[in-house]
């Protein structure tokens, strides 16, 4: 079966600084991929390039069999790619529940045969809020949420877009151990429903318990790609990342 995501030779520069250098990556349908690397290694830049927020200079990206190189961010979301932002970016003049309406209205509803009714949209919002335990905050404004709650909202908003591929960019920073476990369990449940997930995290316990495959990025280059157990024992990985 064709991989859901195929990245070939992707590079991105900012002026003279090379943020990403010839990245090659494949993600299979239904896979749980972990992506780790030191700060500044290019993880978020990679996510931005994949999702269309940034434009990569070189490289081909294929999603679900189609080339997506020229597509704008919202088009990629419509195709089934969703992401959460590392620093949460909620819509601050909309309530928590309304934040979830946006992807339902603008992504889910645009897919052929979708056409959710108002009642269905509200039910879906409640369901999503329930998944991240934010039902009681449905009518609050984002600025009234704690940091942790904002991260959960961020994740819920990405999930609301009903994606084929979900990229969770450091959604668990600041969460307690039990909350981390809850989110990991949630993500695994989503994965069991068929959603392919790329998890970008620093919290090693989460990464190890979640990932079926692990990719390591250092200074814009992929230095390891494989079974999580093998990867963390790779001496180069230890030296570049874990040893710090």
């Amino acid at each position: 079966m064709t991989p859901l995501l195929q990245v070939e030779n992707l590079s991105k520069r900012f002026g003279g600084f090379v943020a990403l250098d010839g990245i090659n990556l494949e993600v299979a349908q239904g896979e749980r991929l972990g992506l780790i690397g030191p700060n500044g290694s290019g993880k978020s830049t990679l996510v931005n390039c994949l999702c269309g927020t940034l434009h990569n200079e070189t490289g081909d990206v294929h999603f679900d069999g189609r080339p997506i190189n020229g597509l704008q961010a919202h088009q990629r979301t419509h195709l089934g790619m969703a992401r959460s932002f590392q620093l949460p970016r909620p819509f601050h003049t909309l309530t928590v529940a309304e934040n979830l309406r946006v992807p339902l209205l603008y992504t889910v509803n645009t897919r052929p045969g979708a056409a959710l009714s108002e009642g269905q949209i509200e039910a879906r919002c409640r369901e999503l809020l329930g998944l991240v335990s934010l039902e009681h905050k449905a009518r609050k404004m984002p600025r009234d949420l704690t940091q942790v709650e904002m991260r959960k909202l961020e994740l819920a908003r990405a999930m609301a877009a009903d994606p084929k591929l979900l990229i969770a960019d450091e959604s668990m920073a600041g969460l307690s151990q039990s909350e981390v476990k809850d989110i990991v369990a949630l993500l695994i449940r989503l994965n069991e429903r068929g959603i392919t997930i790329i998890l970008i995290e620093h919290i090693m316990s989460a990464v190890m318990s979640f990932s079926q495959r692990l990719v390591v990025l250092v200074s814009g280059r992929k230095i390891a790609d494989g079974n999580p157990g093998d990867v963390i024992r790779d001496p180069e990985v230890e030296r570049a990342y874990l040893g710090q």
Partner: protein, 346 residues
């Protein structure tokens, strides 16, 4: 309240206002009322792009002038065609022209909307500030073009004689213009209100709040921004279309005047940009204020007052009069309280 219900309610209010005006019996009320209603349309139009989407348009005068000069151009067309075009065409023209006011408004609005679309297409992919700067430059450039275009009078200006009476009910022309502008304002605020509560309104709000996140959640931001720019420009053009008949003599400095540029921004920002009520409130208050000040002091001073109020409100009360109202007279509905408290703190 559904949209058509709101439209009828507003229409009822409008009829009431007209009846009151007739009772007063002085024609001046129509002259002053026309200007205030014109500003209602301009302010509401500006707010669709500025308040809902967060993209500032400094060149409102340009779109207004497009509407005005389209009317002038069409007004002069019969003369032009009788002189330069073949008789066949000219006879058709003679039967169609002079075009009725509603047609002029639609054409003026269409062309202004087109210009808005074109400019948006060129500049909306960039940061909001570049769009704002481009709108400023647009006003200057358009004025240059008009000044160099002799057909519409160039810098000398153009006369458009107001007919003495209309074919409808024998009311005089200024009353007719007043009614037209009244209807246009009602349409404008109905459209603005219906956008607010629609899916389009959510999309606009996400663009204003965080455009990057909006794109990531699937909102086609460029398309929505173009819709807003086109709609906004079109309404401004529609507001400008009857103007040459109102004023009788149109020349570039009055069409592109300072008054339009600052009022289109000050009225929504002072009234409050979050809903259709703000521009309406701002237009009525500031428009009325300027009418009074122009008569008692001078029009330059009244403009100065508007400018100072704008700076003052932007610094002290960024959510405008609506914001102040919600602060001192909080609503009982917990949702609204929540929203206003949040907006106040931002």
């Amino acid at each position: 309240m559904r949209n058509w219900q709101f439209f009828l309610a507003a229409l009822a209010v409008g009829i009431g206002a007209y009846a009151a005006a007739r009772l007063i019996g002085n024609d001046y009320i129509y002259f002053a009322g026309y200007v205030v209603l014109q500003f209602v349309v301009l302010a509401t139009a500006w707010n669709i792009l500025g308040g809902y989407c967060g993209y500032v348009n400094f060149g409102s005068a340009a779109f207004f002038a497009i509407g005005a000069y389209t009317t002038v151009a069409l007004h002069k067309f019969p003369q032009f065609s009788s002189r330069y075009l073949p008789e066949v065409v000219n006879s058709v023209v003679a039967t169609l022209f002079p075009l009725p006011m509603p047609v002029l408004i639609v054409v003026g609005g269409a062309i202004a909307g087109l210009v808005g679309f074109g400019m948006g297409y060129l500049t909306l992919r960039l940061r909001g500030v570049f769009f704002a700067i481009a709108t400023l430059a647009l006003a200057v450039v358009l004025q240059t073009l008009i000044v160099n275009w002799d057909y519409v009078g160039g810098s000398r200006g153009a006369y458009v004689i107001r007919p003495a009476a209309t074919p409808y009910f024998g009311i005089n022309y200024i009353e007719y213009l007043f009614l037209i502008m009244l209807l246009l304002s009602i349409v404008a605020i109905t459209v603005a209100r219906s956008i607010e509560r629609s899916q389009l309104g959510y999309g606009f709000a996400t663009i204003r709040d965080d455009e990057l996140a909006a794109e990531a959640t699937g909102v086609p931001t460029l398309r929505l921004k173009l819709i807003a720019t086109t709609l906004s420009g079109a309404f401004m053009g529609m507001a400008g279309a009857p103007f040459p008949f109102y004023i009788g003599y149109l020349e570039p400095s009055s069409a592109f005047g300072l008054a339009y540029a600052v009022n289109a921004i000050a009225m929504p920002m002072i009234g409050g940009t979050t809903s259709w009520v703000g521009p309406l409130l701002g237009a009525i208050l500031l428009g009325g204020l300027q009418q009074i000040a122009s008569v008692t002091i001078s029009s330059a001073v009244s403009l100065l007052i508007v400018g100072l109020l704008l700076v003052f409100f932007v610094i002290i009360a960024p959510n405008g009069i609506i914001g102040l109202w919600h602060k001192y007279f909080p609503s009982k509905d917990p949702d609204v309280v929540e929203r206003e408290r949040s907006a106040e703190a931002t």
